[in-house]
Symmetry: C2
Subunit: 165 residues, 2 copies
Amino acid sequence: MVKRTSFEGDACPIARSLDAIGDGWSLLIIREALFGLRRFGEFQNKLGMAKNILSARLRALVDHGILATAPASDGSAYQEYVLTPKGHGAFPILVALRQWSEEFDDRPSEIATILVDKDKGRPVRKLELRAQDGRLLSQPDTLVKPRPAPRRRSTTARSNLSPSS
Amino acid sequence: MVKRTSFEGDACPIARSLDAIGDGWSLLIIREALFGLRRFGEFQNKLGMAKNILSARLRALVDHGILATAPASDGSAYQEYVLTPKGHGAFPILVALRQWSEEFDDRPSEIATILVDKDKGRPVRKLELRAQDGRLLSQPDTLVKPRPAPRRRSTTARSNLSPSS
DNA sequence: GGCATATGGTTTTATAATGCAACCACACAA
DNA sequence: TTGTGTGGTTGCATTATAAAACCATATGCC
């Protein structure tokens, strides 16, 4: 079998994300959905993509629990696609991609938009990664460790998992 | 001409990022490069991908200024691939993808690793988006605005559009 | 030097994804 | 009932991805 390798069973969380939204259109659809779009035609118009692909992507995003189909909303008996919490949760990914372009793009003058704080109308800061004690971290300050086994019943920081799990 | 639509000339910074690294392998290569890998064979082994594709991706990443080829380093006259500052700058994107999986994946128990602060060994916080005055922002607190014209010499916020436009 | 083998790819060939255009089904309006 | 807009699906051409085979140069060993 020769197909686009899937990372669904992979242990790396990055690979798992990419398996769901790493296809070039999904994130743009999510971007537009965050912006407020809901209808098939709206996405198709705004993104200018082929309808069959949009159709396939929307279905995949629904399957992945990123979008949900809502029965109507504005009266007419058509379908809408709305973000689930998981879909909304992709916002930082979009911000990270945006800021990467803003900082490193070869032709930054071609970038047409900026992300601002709604209250003040001023550009947002760069995304910040912090330690639990609040220290600002950059990549060399971090480390990838194997995940500790989830403790079940236990002593110190007691978990609330039911005994049956 | 029917090819994978490119967003190179697009005004959206997210689309521009995806044009460079939105293909499913590039980010994994960057991840491994951040982790320290440099050689063709190392990438091939770790990622288990076909060599021709790895070859194509590495070349594309070099073309995009994300990787650079270093002449040697450990003596042997082979080539190495090292991250440029632009490549290192993709770190927040990887963190965002990782945290999205950690928070929303359907089978979180399959995720094998966590990102920790090297000093204390404790998990990092979620990425934070802040306004310039430090207020923590979530998506509804933000807005995408057209980029103001870059002022060249000039006074307050005067536009620099030429009279001919 | 000569031979084996590892490294770092390219070529070949097959399959899957993408893109466009045409078509279709249903809702709604006149 | 005919028309039109919305929301898709189907067919076909093109491109990207994948696996495996092949190849060129380096290096290790005798």
